[in-house]
Symmetry: C2
Subunit: 268 residues, 2 copies
């Protein structure tokens, strides 16, 4: 099973949009995908129309129950339209950081819960909150790859150093297999000078990585997600971009990302 965390502590850069639509692109290519929502905002589930229990008789179980009460993932998972399994979250997840604070191996709760499912899925994708706290550390401990969505703006670049530092600390401390697959430009508008400058800066930075860096051999993905209002409309219908408007730029771009990640011309 390939496992990917979508992280960036800068808010509103396209993490959830990437997690949901990459997951959907992969199910359309026949991959069995589990999507875990590790953000108390619960937007990954909401994006696919899941914001409560599957029926009235069942209470709404979320990833909070998995982390804090060690409920099995199979009891919490729901199914979104495209045969996509999703482990939803909601605002109660905010409490997990405090409730787990003094627990042993608190960073490994998600990894341990996912261990029985490695054979059942081809790909695991985790949507993270805009922070580098315990929830994001849990996600980083549970995966082998990281994708960093980035809006090509000056303010969005500032936190990148801290983000790379955090990934390195998790790799060196608790998850030696962790590496950064790449940086994905989101809300990209090629006509602006700023976007051109930022992409050049990033590409140059990645190319000069030392072999021991967690971002060694990471790339700036060729796929770039263009700004496209359909991507912002689709969650209001509880749909991925492929259900909402399969002919849109948004669908094209996320399909291109799926191909680049899973059928690469030059294997990563």
């Amino acid at each position: 099973m390939r496992s990917i965390a979508i992280i960036n502590q800068k808010g509103g850069v396209g993490k959830t949009t990437t997690a949901v639509n990459l997951a959907a692109a992969l199910t359309r290519r026949g991959q069995r995908v589990m999507l875990v929502d590790m953000d108390p905002q619960g937007h990954a589930g909401l994006h696919l129309g899941i914001d409560g229990a599957p029926d009235e008789d069942t209470p709404f179980a979320t990833v909070y129950d998995v982390l804090v009460d060690r409920r099995p993932i199979a009891e919490v998972a729901q199914f979104a339209d495209e045969k996509l399994t999703i482990v939803p979250s909601d605002i109660h997840l905010v409490g997990a950081e405090v409730e787990l604070a003094d627990q042993d191996r608190r960073e490994h709760r998600l990894q341990e819960a996912l261990a029985p499912h490695h054979e059942n899925y081809d790909v695991l994708i985790i949507d993270c909150a805009p922070s580098l706290g315990l929830l994001t550390i849990n996600a980083l401990a549970a995966v082998r790859e990281v994708i960093i969505p980035l809006q090509p703006h000056f303010l969005a670049l500032q936190g990148l150093g801290k983000l790379l530092e955090t990934v390195t600390l998790v790799r060196d401390g608790i998850n030696p297999d962790l590496r950064i697959s790449g940086i994905l430009l989101c809300m990209y508008d090629r006509s602006t000078r700023l976007a051109q400058e930022v992409s050049q800066d990033i590409a140059g930075f990645l190319e000069s990585a030392e072999p021991d860096a967690a971002w060694y051999r990471a790339r700036l993905f060729n796929a770039r997600i263009r700004r496209n209002i359909k991507l912002a409309e689709s969650p209001s219908f509880g749909q991925s971009i492929f259900q909402y408007d399969p002919a849109s730029h948004g669908a094209e771009d996320y399909n291109e990302l799926a191909v680049e990640l899973f059928e690469p011309a030059d294997p990563v």
Copy 2:
């Protein structure tokens, strides 16, 4: 002194861009403005070219020192180009939430530090982090007004309820003067159906507010901040939009906001 907190826990919606450019618009109209950065990302200071001490001989003092060590604001404040006083922050501010956790009146630290300055300034503006934790509560305890920047997207609407609830709790618990001045549409693109729908939803919601609601008489500002790449370019030069491109839509829109807030046709 008028005092305004710029808050929204959804990340990347235009809080810092609004705080900095509204402050700059007001200094250009002769108002004496203090801008306080209550976000550990430190983007308000960075936006105006401040990301360290004013000279090599002085250590970089921030709002962290004001909150935790009770250093006077006068010792920490720096001056940005337009006679704007700014109290900067940096990543150390993350520690303040934990360090103040068991302190008495921890929510009032900022309010108490600002008390001596009410006569020295006409306007106080506070940029907040994308969260509703202790730092944002400190900001809400220190002001009389709240502006909520909002990106007119479906996902951005979801957290609004929780945000209004938090403001109401602070009003009822620790700051009876607190009220919501209004919701500001940012990154607005009038050509999209989504933006039209969201603005209608918001306007309708605000008009039906009960008299005891913290958002009673709050409005959807007539001023709308259009998406404009110049607003994203200006921080890379350490400038407000008025220094960087005073003829841009961005400068027009923030000027319109300043007029609507401070020279209203129908006084609020």
